[in-house]
Amino acid sequence: MKLSELGAFELLPMIKRKEVSVEEATVGILNKIKAVDRDIQAYITVTNEHALQRAKEADLRLNEGKPPRPLEGLSVAIKDNICTKGIKTTGASVYLEDFVPPYDATVVRLLEDAGAIIVGKTNLDELAMGSSTESSAMFPTKNPWDLQRVPGGSSGGSAAAVIADEAVFALGSDTGGSIRQPAAFCGIVGLKPTYGLVSRYGLIGYASSMDQIGPMTKNVRDCAMLLNVIARHDPKDAQSYTGEPVDYTQFLIPDINEVIVGVPKEFLNKGLSKSVKDAFMKALNKLEGLGAKVVEVSLPHSDHALAAYYVISSAEASSNLARLDGIRYGYRAAGCEDSASMTAISRGKGFGSEVKRRIVLGTHILSKGNFEKYFNDALKIRSLIFRDFEKIFKECTCLVCPSSPTVAFRIGEKIRDPLEMYLSDVYTVPPNLAGLPGISIPCGFDEEGMPIGLQIITKQFDEATLLQVAYTFEQATDFHKKKPQLQKYDCGSESTRGDRNV
């Protein structure tokens, strides 16, 4: 068992007992990155120096007898659309390639104050627009289970880093499935919290009414630990929840006897691959076996969720990204005659296709004559979807469905066809529209050994139930213990390893 393979809940007590120094733990992760990231390409920036210095400071603190903090010495990877003061934050865009924020995102502040150590900034689809990390302007990240495949997206770098032990855990962001889908594709735990539970301050805005930052971890307990730290009211985000902080680890009790699990029938037909469906059915049986009651429910408007999502998210994105104009920061095309053409050319060159397409689509949707027709309609459909969920939660404790209709697809397979790509978010989008929390946990593998994710959804601000159900399922299964084979890489101090069960 290598140090870098440990979950946060395993490593933290060792650090607290000083069996391992923070520096040792950090170096273990940094070495792992050195060993495997050339091939996986999870990171855009690795913050070696920064991490080592923080690690030394942490050891000093501990040696001075200061009490260990909640995430003392744990290496965290941050999706590169979350601002880090003094550390380049690119959003995987040419436009922001050299952008060094003069401020920290609130979550970054919370993590560092809790003792976590930032080891790097992870790859994503450019400005979080995409489902495969292929639209990154830097490079595509590879799925550690099969380097020919995508890790999912947009938080593909964070997901790959966690499963490849290049971080103890990571932060992702999720607007339409960007945490849960890559978590499913990489076989890890990914939680999109209720809209407003985690501060968005410092997260490069994509669709402001849906964006949420959330944990991506090796297991449910780590997820709860990370959530404990980042779920805090933030006066800098006017949409931030004002409730008191909660210790989510107290709900990690493997008991779902009182739980009624709803299965939306609409999610089990077209587009769902056989292997995913099989794994999902097995998962349902498992839940039943664990004492939950499973009932079929209906989300009658879910058919329209994807369309409403693209209308709303593109519209909001077109406005959010208008600030990238070549003046105060970011890329500026040289030699432009006047300021308007400077902005137009800089944006034309600084953004990739997917981003440009969504901005243009969003601009069209908000423009005269279309606003009523598309945007207002989509907001009303959003209400309908919200109401559908509300009805279901009157009889069910939670909903379950696959996290994605397929396992990770091959690099290049869908990049040409945006519509096809958008479909991989079909199960993750509805919770974003309704602001609900959703978690993806490993629930199986297909015949080629690719991981499959189970999504659990509860009502707003009921992360406690969500984590309890997820934990119960996880503790009764072994899927989260399986690791991709990376033995062909020389891992330096980390010797080759086989399949290991913790």
């Binding site: 659309n81 979350i82 601002c83 934050t89 959003g91 922001l96 952008f99 924020p101 003069p102 401020y103 995102a105 968005r200 301050y201 410092g202 997260l203 490069i204 805005g205 669709a207 402001s208 009414s209 006066p235 800098k236 985000d237 006017a238 949409q239 519209a315 909001e316 077109s318 406005s319 208008a322 600030r323 990238l324 104009d325 003046i327 105060r328 920061y329 300021s339 308007a340 902005t343 601009t363 908000l366 423009s367 005269k368 606003f371 945007f375």
Partner: protein, 481 residues
């Protein structure tokens, strides 16, 4: 005959400590880009949080302008690209302004005109572009200062109810006076904390159609608004009477040439792609919140004027002048309450005080005479300690020195001579020296006695009690008979 149809949009910067959506100072005059932060620079990932005071100033102003305060208010994004706009959208209130359907009463030539106010809403100001060379057309580059970006603005939009340049002037004066009374803005046009855009069209008198709208810009004073409108009314009426086309455009007021100049054609209406800002939760303004703000409303200029007429029995003219600013009105009222006879106080303020303020350019807030000093002086006149004439000298001394009237009178020996013996001596002297006039008086030319009084005053440097002098003169002259 043509009549103008005028509507005015006013942007007033609010007098808050911090900006509308971030904690940067909202103060004017800081060095370039020193009042900026990630939020007001529009850095990626930053979010707006609404300034409570600014919003309450919005409610306060809406109430003062007799608007219906929105039950649910919110913010929208107005999307357009401009280098001085950091996010390339302005956060404003398009769909649910804080107040709608109000009015402002304006008195013109003793007649009250009610100008309807369409809406009052909050929005953020933009930064400032400095065009190299000062001229936008000739500049090769521009410099951006974002200190002003995000400063809270209140936009107050009138209905097109204004019918003359003079009315426009009076409307703006009353609006400004009201904002100053409310304490929500310092309304300094020279610092840009009050700005106005004017729309004007003309139509045949009596018609209820609308002509082609022309927008006027670069209006740096209310006088400029009035003059530019006078020019436009003339220009547009001439064109209309000759059946020539009036172009829909923005025209620039040229202060030097006292003309308006066409700037650019108003092309297709801009497409601002308004939509509700998802970063800012809506505001539910319940009755209790409105009542709380209402209870803090000061007495407004119109109300105060009416009360001055009613309670102090002042003429309309006096009341108007005294309520021009809150400070002047307070000054009057403090003195009037203490002294009792309001009209006397009003006369002194409107006469001597305003004259001296004018001459010296000193505002009421820095006047050294305290209301109680004015009252003390008036009481000295009443008691006969000083004469009304001497009082003017005393008042001037009070104005420049800031001393109490008692001290000045003592120092300068200005106490009225009311001692009968002393005055009798002087009266006798004057009679002796002016026998000719004495003869005239005796011959029945009663008016000539005034000359003798004047001579006594001259001898005493104005300090003699005029009534006593009069009486003594009459006694002595009668006695000589």
């Amino acid at each position: 005959m043509f009549e103008p149809v005028i509507g005015i949009e006013v942007h007033a910067q609010l007098k808050t400590e911090s900006k509308l959506f971030c904690s940067c100072s909202a103060r004017f005059g800081a060095s370039p880009n020193s009042n900026t932060c990630p939020v007001c620079l529009g850095l990626p990932g930053t979010l707006p949080v609404l300034n409570k005071k600014a919003f309450e100033y919005g409610i306060r102003t809406a109430l003062a302008f007799n608007c219906k305060v929105a039950e649910i208010s919110g913010f929208d994004r107005k999307n357009y690209f401009y280098p001085d706009l950091p996010k390339n959208y302005q956060i404003t209130q398009q769909a649910s302004p804080v107040g709608v359907n109000g009015y402002l009463d304006v008195v013109i030539d003793d007649e009250t005109r009610r100008i309807r106010i369409k809406r009052v809403h909050l929005e953020e100001d933009a930064g400032k572009s400095i065009h190299e060379g000062g001229d936008i057309t000739g500049a090769v580059f521009s410099l951006e200062d974002y200190n002003r970006a995000g400063v809270p603005l209140l936009e107050i939009v009138s209905e097109p109810d204004i019918r003359s340049p003079k009315e426009a002037y009076e409307y703006l004066s009353m609006l400004r006076r009201t904002l100053l009374y409310l304490g929500v803005s310092d309304c300094k046009m020279e610092e840009g904390s009050l700005r106005c855009d004017v729309n004007i069209s003309v139509r045949p008198k009596g018609s209820d159609s609308f002509g082609t709208l022309v927008e006027l810009k670069n209006l740096n004073s209310f006088r400029a608004v009035e003059r530019s409108l006078e020019y436009e009314v003339k220009r547009q009426s001439e064109l209309a009477s000759e059946n020539k086309e009036i172009i829909r455009e923005t025209r620039h007021w040229d202060e030097e040439g006292q003309t308006t100049v066409g700037m650019r054609r108003k092309g297709l209406a801009e497409d601002y792609r308004f939509f509700p800002d998802p970063d800012l939760p809506r505001l539910i303004i319940g009755e209790s919140w409105i009542e709380k703000v209402r209870s803090d409303l000061p007495e407004l200029p119109g109300e105060r004027k009416a009360r001055f007429i009613r309670d102090y029995e002042l003429p309309e003219y006096d009341a108007s002048l005294l309520t021009d600013t809150q400070q002047l009105a307070d000054y009057f009222e403090e003195a009037a309450k203490e002294y009792g006879h309001a009209k006397t106080v009003s006369n002194w303020i409107m006469g001597e005080l305003l004259r001296l303020m004018n001459v010296t350019g000193i505002g009421i807030e820095s006047v050294k005479i305290r209301p109680c000093d004015l009252v003390a002086m008036l009481k000295m006149i009443d008691k006969g300690t000083i004469s009304g004439k001497i009082a003017k000298t005393v008042f001037e001394e009070m104005f420049t020195q800031g001393k109490s009237p008692g001290d000045i009178v003592k120092e300068k020996g200005l106490v009225q001579i009311a001692d009968e013996d002393e005055l009798t001596k002087i009266v006798d002297l004057v009679i002796q020296d002016n026998q000719k006039v004495v003869e005239q008086v005796k011959a029945g030319k009663d008016r000539a006695i005034g000359f003798l009084v004047g001579q006594v005053m001259k001898e005493t440097k104005g300090r003699a009690n005029p009534q006593m002098v009069n009486e003594l003169l009459r006694q002595r002259l009668a006695g000589e008979n």
